[in-house]
């Protein structure tokens, strides 16, 4: 039942390299020859996969990843400038996970995510304007300025939130999958969470029910290898997360999260299982966040060398190289995409700046769908 694929060598090596304390001044461990070899191997794998996509599809994936990257860079700037409050968890480095997987589903499928969800919201089709305005706490934001960075929602587009209690969305997503099966549709649910959420009870309780009742939910563990400042090695006795599906007799795969096409293909397989047979899947997608846990994270638990090592595997760099080498796009095309994407992000910033704050009366709206005046018969 359970399908396992071996971890790519780069990921296995990464795990060995995690020190127990993760201090900044640990000796650099970059074997540049080996890195190049790994990158080349990844590129070869990606080239094989590219042949299954149309040119338009491939370029659209690239555009979406770049949009997320530029959007998050701008979010970081706006945060530092004091325009965005609270917490702000960026998706930089993980773009291939969201874009690759969401490209494998339909508009009417559901997506539920953790608090690191700006990129996923963009991939699901929400506008940069509605997300940036939400980050700015403006009335025009996707949640009317009431949710903020961690609570993006769009009912129309099937984006069912940003949830900020680690693992909480896993049970909710199991519920949306339950509902679509109950209603007799063939919709699927994609549920995103970090690897640290795997230690929560909600993960295990949900996977048990999903397999027991055959619910069309695809559990996507975005394994960026750190739960805030705690490395996977320091937090999990069995750190090979895809294996945990075995405990529930659930199908699972280990996926290279730096390759947008690998993510897409694995998700397509899972989606087919879900649509046809209502079967859930656990995908462990190995990725890396290039920024801190949140904007306030000094990041002194991992080495510069480690970050640079993964930046060599930057999913956007990898894909642009593949597109160029395979002549799917030329430099000019990619530059044009970057120009358009930057413009879109600039526009979202302007829109957010110029949008009004929520009306003070909004404080008391949306608490209840059926507000009751007590004592009224």
């Amino acid at each position: 039942m359970s399908k396992q694929t071996a971890a790519p060598p780069s990921a296995a090596k990464a795990e060995e390299q995690q020190s127990s304390t993760g201090v900044m001044d640990a000796p650099p461990d970059v074997d540049s020859k080996k890195l190049k070899q790994e990158r080349d191997e990844a590129k070869e794998r990606q080239k094989d996969r590219l042949s299954k996509l149309s040119r338009e599809q491939a370029i659209e994936l690239y555009r979406q990843m770049l949009l997320i990257r530029r959007f998050e860079e701008k979010s970081a700037e706006a945060y530092v400038a004091g325009k965005i409050g609270g917490f702000c968890h960026l998706y930089i480095g993980q773009e291939a996970v969201g874009v690759g997987s969401i490209s494998a589903i339909r508009k009417d499928d559901y997506v539920l995510a953790s608090y690191r969800e700006h990129g996923l919201a963009l991939a699901k089709g929400m506008t940069a304007r509605s997300i940036m305005a939400e980050l700015f706490g403006k009335a025009t934001g996707c949640s009317k300025g009431k949710g903020g960075s961690m609570h993006m929602f769009d009912k129309e587009l099937g984006f069912l939130g940003g949830h900020a209690i680690v693992g909480g969305q896993i049970a909710l997503a199991t519920g949306t999958a339950f509902a679509t099966k109950y209603q007799g549709t063939d919709q699927v649910t994609l549920c995103y969470f970090g690897e640290a959420a795997v230690n929560q009870g909600a993960f295990h309780e949900s996977l048990n029910m999903a397999q027991l009742w055959k619910l069309p939910c695809i559990y996507i563990c975005e394994n960026n290898q750190y739960g805030m400042g705690t490395s996977l090695a320091r937090a999990m006795s069995l750190s090979d997360i895809s294996k945990k599906a075995c405990a529930y007799e659930m199908a699972s795969e280990f996926v290279d999260g730096m390759d947008v096409l690998a993510v897409r293909e694995a998700t397509l397989r899972a989606v087919e299982r879900a649509r046809k047979d209502y079967l859930p899947t656990l995908l462990e997608i190995r990725t890396y966040r290039f920024m801190g846990h949140s904007m306030s994270d000094p990041g002194n638990y991992r080495t510069r060398a480690e970050i640079e090592k993964y930046q060599e595997r930057d999913p956007i760099k990898l894909f642009s190289a593949t597109l160029l080498e395979e002549k799917v796009a030329d430099e000019k095309t990619l530059e044009e995409i970057d120009r358009k994407v930057r413009k879109e992000v600039e526009d979202s910033l302007r829109f957010a700046e110029e949008s009004p704050l929520p009306d003070p009366e909004e404080l008391y709206t949306d608490v209840y769908a059926n507000p009751i005046e007590p004592g009224r018969k």
Partner: protein, 327 residues
């Protein structure tokens, strides 16, 4: 009208609402094949089948969250906790998801779900199985909290809770499932949430009582009548939103009030009602508000100690006499 137990009145409400709306389903531990740990769900599996009446594993956080997610996608779940003590495991989903979803989504996702089951003390089941948790849930904006005390209220309020578009925490009382009373047969009989009920009219002292304390307060009122004290007994029925207006009106008439509750006194619903009365009717009070609460201890097992931990008729009578300055 039929004479039913609270158990059967709840069963009827569930049956009628399952029949009325295909999007309503019921899930929980032992609700289906076992017919319910307290038989509230008896016969429902047989009538509605395993798609609508679902036995869950013992996984409270998981199935509570599953219910909230199903509500986001358009269903109207009824989630039974075998007892509310077990809901403690599910509080993350009740509080962080159900109560806040509509607000933090800017009004996009309503959560029409009912979390129901028995709460409060039972018969010698000791500390972990005897807790009155209404003040926890009533604390949170976004939730509604209901506690019926009669078969008719149980049926009418549960039907309203199921039809309501917000998450409702519906706490039944374990000791009261066998209590009998008249219940209307009309399948459209409902009682609105947020409406207190005057269970007995009187003029000298107001007793505010909920759930298990209502029948005790009514007995106390009978005894006090013989002693020449006329008591008005008010059952808020819905703890959030609280119909404080009906309580305050009564206090303005009687000028004296006793609040009887099974729960611990600290940060309890009685404390809230007392504060509201002080804010709204201070000048009408002829005596300080008096609470009769459960003992501020974990529930003991021994019968004699358990009896001491739960308010009884005698203590309510004594409190009324105290605020009436009789003794």
């Amino acid at each position: 009208m039929s004479t039913l137990t609270i158990r059967d009145a709840l069963n009827q409400a569930l049956k009628e609402e399952l029949a009325r709306d295909e999007s309503v389903f019921l899930m929980g531990e032992e609700v289906a094949e076992y017919d319910g740990a307290y038989k509230v769900t008896r016969g429902l599996l047989h009538e509605f089948g395993p798609k609508r009446v679902i036995d869950t594993p013992i996984t409270e956080l998981g199935f509570a969250g599953l219910g909230v997610g199903a509500a986001m996608a358009g269903l109207r779940p009824i989630v039974e906790f075998m007892t509310f003590n077990f809901s403690i495991l599910a509080t993350d989903q009740i509080i962080n998801s159900a109560a806040k979803m509509l607000y933090m989504s800017g009004g996009q996702f309503k959560i029409p779900i009912v979390f129901r089951g028995p709460g409060g003390s039972a018969f010698q089941v000791s500390s972990q199985h005897s807790q009155a948790l209404e003040s926890w849930y009533a604390y949170f904006p976004g939730l509604k909290v209901v506690m019926p005390s009669t078969p008719a209220d149980a049926k009418g309020l549960l039907k309203s809770a199921i039809r309501d578009d917000d998450p409702v925490v519906f706490i039944e009382q374990e000791r009261m499932y066998g209590h009998k009373g008249e219940v209307p047969d009309d399948p459209d009989f409902t009682i609105p949430l947020g409406l207190a009920d005057v269970k007995r009219e009187g003029k000298d002292v107001t007793i505010v009582a909920r759930s298990l304390m209502v029948p005790l307060a009514l007995k106390a009122a009978e005894q006090l009548e013989e002693q020449g004290v006329s008591c008005e007994v008010i059952d808020p029925r819905t703890i959030r939103p609280l119909d404080i207006g009906t309580i305050v009106e009564s206090v303005k008439k009687t000028n004296r009030v006793v609040i009887a509750e099974e729960s611990h006194p600290i940060c309890g619903v009685g404390a809230e009602i007392s504060a509201e009365i002080m804010e709204r009717a201070f000048d009408y009070l002829d005596a300080p508000v008096k609470r009769v609460s459960g003992a501020d201890v974990p529930m003991p097992y021994a019968k004699n100690l358990e009896n001491l931990a739960i308010p009884d008729v005698e203590r309510i009578v004594a409190a009324v006499r105290e605020v009436a300055y009789i003794d």
